[in-house]
């Protein structure tokens, strides 16, 4: 999302400061109009003081950590972005926010707009702006290459992309795979390289006897992800969203841009993508999810 904005606005100069390295740094480093740094929390306040003293910023956009608002001088425009759909995290961020210091609040969907509006202190509602996330259509599109990058070995690929947190709910994806015939394989594109979480996923898949039908990918580049989506579509594949909340649904949107049908739990902002390619299932209805996957194949 952040990277796409820099790509979409090449005349803007972006400075990205991350508190943690979740991977993908090299994609940011390729941007000609961006400078990227990973700054550990302990130094962050002093670091921000130093750079704001020496560089004049038009605006500062902060996400996931409202405490940072207080680190910036009062003459800088502050935009706070809400991206989480997790109610606990949302409540914490709203509580910690210095609302008088925030000039704008960005949310990525109408659904989030409605949600945030109900939760924030009175008098600040007018600050909320829906700023939809940008999908890089130069990468995520239906233009097919001649050669096939991925070999699904004659199987029907089900794609799942995300971190292994409870909200993203990879467990339901594994359970769904276990309900489907052997011709379906599960391609998990992990954004999470944590050892214990990975072994938990593998253990669950093993318990269901699914290892021969599982593929684990890590650190895919955006172009590889788009190729995966496109080629999965060519092989009757489906993108599966078992997420329990989505403030926008980036991976669902990317899948649809690539022409890949999606079956998703009906949560959050997913209906705002407004495409026939997404079929919705009541959240948590595993059996309904498996049936919907089968119905995509059968053309219902």
């Amino acid at each position: 999302m952040l990277r796409s904005r820099a790509v979409a606005h090449p005349a803007e100069k972006h400075w990205f400061l991350f508190e943690q390295n979740w991977g993908g740094l090299e994609e940011f480093n390729k941007l000609a109009n961006a400078t990227t740094r990973i700054i550990s929390g302990g130094q962050l306040q002093l670091y921000i003081h130093y750079i704001t003293k020496n560089i004049s910023f038009d605006e500062v956009r902060i996400t996931s950590n409202p405490i940072l608002i207080g680190y910036f001088p009062s003459n800088v425009k502050i935009i706070y972005e809400f991206h989480t759909s997790n109610d606990v995290i949302l409540a914490r961020e709203i509580y910690q926010m210095a609302w008088n210091r925030v000039d704008e609040v960005w949310v990525p969907s109408n659904w989030m707009f409605t949600k945030i509006k109900e939760l924030i202190p009175l008098g600040h509602e007018k600050k909320i702006i829906v700023q939809k996330n940008i999908i890089d259509a130069s990468i995520f599109n239906e233009i097919r290459k001649e050669s096939c990058l991925f070999d699904f070995e004659g199987s029907i690929p089900l794609i799942w992309i995300g971190r292994f947190d409870l909200g993203k709910n990879v467990s339901d994806f594994i359970k769904t795979l276990s309900l489907l015939p052997d011709e379906y394989i599960g391609v998990v594109v992990s954004l999470d390289s944590d050892l214990l979480r990975m072994t938990e996923v593998l253990s669950e898949a093993l318990a269901f006897g699914l290892w021969s039908r599982l593929r684990i990918f890590l650190n895919l580049r955006p172009w590889q992800l788009s190729e995966l989506n496109r080629q999965a579509a060519m092989h009757n594949g489906i993108y599966c969203s078992t997420s329990l909340g989505e403030s926008f649904g980036y991976t669902v949107a990317e899948a649809s841009y690539c022409g890949l049908p999606t079956v998703a739990y009906d949560v959050g902002a997913l209906r705002e993508h407004n495409t026939d390619l997404i079929r919705f299932v009541d959240v948590g209805d595993l059996f309904g999810f498996a049936e919907e996957v089968l119905s995509v194949r059968s053309g219902e």
Partner: protein, 505 residues
């Protein structure tokens, strides 16, 4: 000529040579003796470091370098000597857009006079680990591959190719594969031993974080003749890389050099998890182990028997030739009267059987033990007939071992031991000394090698060997055995196994 000057907020400006990624700043300073007992001496003076681009605008520094102060920005206190100069060394990253480094020496505690003995010095360098991401280096690594030859990606726990040790199996096989004409891209465990990205013709090495970039480049090119070898390092990244490689149509090999589960059990290899290794064993196209025990274990973990094979460790052909003179009848005769027993290797009590060796030494005072290696436990009571020599170079080992009557491999009974195919066995045999070893791998099939199955038998075999005589048949069998163990033969065997038959594929 050294000139001293008191620090008074002096700025020193250095132009950054193109391509620099790191800089080392050295500042020589001192405080006069009368300030020796001053409070806050440690904070008496500092250098602040600012980076600017070609327009003179501030460049945001990296976080991994210096503390930051609201007043002076990035800084480091000077570690000034009292009465005599001392040098403070400050290392910083140099971002690509940085054109100048501005170093300002400042007094911080006004009451304490601090003097510079000279202007700060700065040395710029291209850090290989930082430069490795440069596309040109990756592109160079994968271009001009000879037709019908492979790109072999070796992802391993071994050190880099430049490491001063002789190198582990992956390092040796990397050289063999390169000599076969294949292009080897080597990913060692850490950055130690990586001095040059291009180690040799056909061998390039990178830090592990580059693997996704390499896969990106290779997949963009539509490369098909690629082999991904995970050598005893089935971590999260490796299993994902294996699945990705298979989906690209590449061959994947899980090479098992040790029982990593047991290494993890005794406190090493903290990245290891059984589940990941099981997944690797089951998902890889081929599994190659160094011992029959490990092959059985991998099949138990789900590897296919038909695509699992044993290819033991080996001997460096050059070392074999170099030590030829140690395997003659004369050399054997010269050691006949020696009562010195030698060992070379790691001395951790996790596998080295210290109680056995100490007990045997005490009960056999006429035997002398010379032990080369590091990792011995502290505070053990060493008898006078054990000489701990510490780490030695390989050339030193060649000289020292000439006085040995035999070599030993006294490892504790454990799964870790059973699975090992010890490189030192081959080294002992090359320098012409018989071996007494714990039960492991296929050591019982090696010439001049005797295996003990209990503690009493260990001592008995040492004494027998000391008192015994060599036979001429021993020399012949030794030459015959070693000449079938060269690393290039092992490498050929592995490639043939992968190709499903034939030699140089």
């Amino acid at each position: 000529m050294v000139t001293e000057s008191m620090i008074e907020d002096r700025e020193f400006i250095f132009d950054v040579p193109p391509g620099s990624t790191r800089a080392t700043i050295e500042v020589s300073s001192f405080v006069p003796v009368q300030f020796a007992e001053a409070k806050d001496l440690r904070k008496a003076a500092l250098v602040s470091v600012h980076l600017t681009d070609s327009e003179g605008e501030i460049v945001i520094p990296s976080d991994d370098d210096l503390a930051i102060s609201k007043k002076v920005g990035p800084y480091s206190y000077l570690n000034s000597g009292v009465g005599k100069p001392q040098t403070t060394v400050v290392d910083i990253s140099v971002p690509a857009e940085c054109a100048r480094v501005i170093v300002t020496a400042r007094t911080w505690v006004k009451e304490i006079e601090t003097y510079l003995t000279a202007a700060p010095k700065i040395t710029f360098e291209e850090d290989p680990a930082k430069n490795l991401l440069m596309k040109s280096q990756i592109n160079e690594a994968i271009k001009n591959i000879r037709p019908a030859k492979k790109v072999i990606i070796l992802y391993t726990t071994a050190p880099g190719m430049d490491h001063p040790s002789l190198g582990l199996r992956p390092n040796r096989l990397a050289r063999v594969f390169a000599q076969m004409g294949h292009r080897v891209i080597f990913f060692p465990f850490g950055s130690a031993g990586i001095e040059n990205t291009r180690y040799a013709e056909n061998i390039y090495q990178f830090t592990r974080d580059i693997l996704p970039e390499l896969n990106d480049r290779l997949s963009r090119l539509g490369a098909s003749n690629v082999v991904f070898i995970c050598s005893s390092f089935p971590d999260v990244n490796a299993i994902a890389a294996t699945d990705l490689a298979k989906s690209f149509g590449w061959n994947t090999v899980y090479e098992v050099r040790d029982d990593m589960e047991e290494f993890n059990r005794v406190g090493y290899s903290k990245w290891y998890h059984r589940r990941l290794e099981m997944y690797m064993a089951q998902r890889s196209n081929f599994v190659v182990t160094v011992s029959p025990y490990l092959a059985r274990k991998m099949v138990m973990m789900g590897a296919q028997e038909s695509t699992t094979t044993v290819i033991p460790n080996g001997v460096d052909r050059e070392f074999f030739t170099k030590t030829a003179g140690l395997r003659t009848a004369e050399a054997f005769s010269s050691r006949a009267k020696s009562r010195t027993i030698g060992y070379i290797g790691h001395l951790t009590p996790s596998w080295f059987d210290w109680p056995l060796v100490l007990q045997t030494a005490r009960k056999n005072p006429s035997l002398q033990f010379e032990i080369i290696g590091h990792g011995a436990p502290n505070n053990i009571n060493i008898p006078s007939n054990i000489n701990l020599l510490g780490p030695r170079t390989h050339d030193e080992f060649l000289v020292i071992s000439r006085g040995w009557r035999m070599g030993i491999i006294p490892f504790r009974k454990s799964r870790l031991t059973y699975s090992v195919d010890p490189n030192k066995l081959y080294e002992y045999l090359c320098v012409g000394i018989p071996v007494v070893s714990a039960r492991m791998a296929s050591v019982d099939t090696a010439p001049l090698t005797r295996v003990y199955y209990d503690d009493a038998q260990f001592a008995d075999l040492l004494v027998e060997n000391v008192q015994g005589y060599f036979k001429y048949e021993d020399l012949e069998s030794l030459e015959d055995y070693l000449s079938k163990c060269f690393w290039d033969q092992r490498g050929n065997e592995m490639m043939s196994f992968i190709a499903g038959g034939g030699g140089d594929n």
